[in-house]
């Protein structure tokens, strides 16, 4: 079965999580801060030691080298980090111009952003460019940790449109941590909440 499947995943805060997302499905995850949402995403991307197995399109994670796995399940952390001087140095080498231009314009940039120094970027610009950087890898699942937390309404709806389009175009499963009830209602999809270390349907 295509999509993302967690089998008996345990992190420092959550025990024995079983969860299935079909290809192209959108799932919103909420819960109090410190309830383990980010740790769950990090475990799926195999960034922290944990127990359990994750499958993507019927391939178990343990069968793939970690860099390959992380390219396929793209995790967008709530805070973006940049290590080189300009924006373009953070793009994958294989990036094709056409795709890049379209993606950037949907996020409100032109291709000149390639030469912008990182120090000049605002928090919101960093967040949008971190998303662009991630999508250029063409992940088959997306793990979003408060992808729109630092954005104004215009840019928030830009990001939402990009993510909806991407999910549809690539049949990518979206696991989206969001604190914004309006966003969850607006975009639609399955909704779960973490309560007492368990995943429950949001009511």
């Amino acid at each position: 079965m295509a999509g993302l499947r967690l089998e008996g995943l345990s992190t420092a805060l959550l025990r024995d999580i079983h969860l299935t997302l079909a290809a192209g499905e959108r799932l919103f995850l909420s819960g109090a801060s410190g309830s383990g949402k980010s740790l769950l995403l990090r475990a799926i991307a195999d960034l922290d030691p944990h127990h359990g197995e994750v499958w993507l399109d019927d391939i178990p994670r343990s069968r793939l080298p970690p860099p390959e796995w992380r390219r396929r399940v793209g995790l967008l952390p709530s805070e973006s980090h940049w290590w080189a001087k300009t924006v373009g140095e953070h793009w994958p080498a294989s990036t094709t111009h056409l795709k890049l231009e379209r993606l950037l314009s949907m996020l409100g940039f032109d291709t000149g952003v390639r030469d912008w120094p990182i120090t000049r970027l605002s928090t919101g610009e960093r967040q949008r460019l971190a998303l662009a950087r991630l999508l250029l890898n063409q992940p088959q699942a997306l793990l979003l940790d408060e992808a729109t937390a630092h954005l104004d309404p215009v840019n928030r709806s830009r990001v939402e449109t990009v993510l909806e389009d991407y999910g549809n175009a690539y049949s990518a499963a979206l696991l989206w941590v969001s604190h914004d009830p309006e966003q969850r209602a607006r975009l639609g999809g399955r909704r779960l909440v973490i309560r007492k270390s368990r995943l429950e349907p949001e009511t």
Partner: protein, 263 residues
Amino acid sequence: MSLIYLSAWDLALASGLVLLLAALSWRLHLGVERQVLIAALRSTVQLMLIGLVLKQLFAQTHLTLIGLMVLIMLSVASWEVRNRQKRRYTGMWGYGIGALSLFVSSFSVTLLALMIIIRVNPWYQPQYLIPLLGMMLGNTMSGVAIALDHLTRQAWEARGCIEARLLLGATWEEAITGIRRDALRSGLIPIVNAMAAAGLVSLPGMMTGQILAGSPPLEAAKYQLLIMFLISAGTGLGTVAAVWIGSRRLFDERQRLRLDRLV
């Protein structure tokens, strides 16, 4: 030229200068007189003891005794490397990375020097082995300690960037490569600077000692050069080994950054 022997009285005169320094510190309320006196006393006891030990050791080329001495030197140097880390590795690794890289570098270079360059027979003749190894360990220890400290500190500070690169599909080596290079450089810079400045600012300690002990200056300079080349090679080798093992240890088999392996 011959060696002028120092009597106890000569040393007592010199130590009077240290007493004067302590008195000065007391008079000016610098508050370091206690440390000065204790340090002077420690160096007296330690150097006299090591002089006695070496005298015994040199008298008999006894392999077990030499081995024991070498082992003690290595463990003290490794301990020193461990103690100079702000964020050291947990468990045996805190000690082991330093010990292993010191062992690999200092021992191989010293052995090379004794067997091929100086051609001492037998190679373990303590009069050559112990001072040479001591100088190698002392310098390599500094390089290794600086490089490891740089590596772990930088990895801690840049953990967000390292993980961001991992998340975009970088291998652990790609994610740490810049930090690794900086760590290597910081470990090597002191010895490179020392080589570049040798003889211009001050005469290196060993050369000074040899000249005072009666060697012709040109012979002393040649020995000093040999030692400097050996130290550079040893420091380079040791630093590369330590940074390689240390950076590998920061990641696990699934290429996750494991800062929980640091104290």
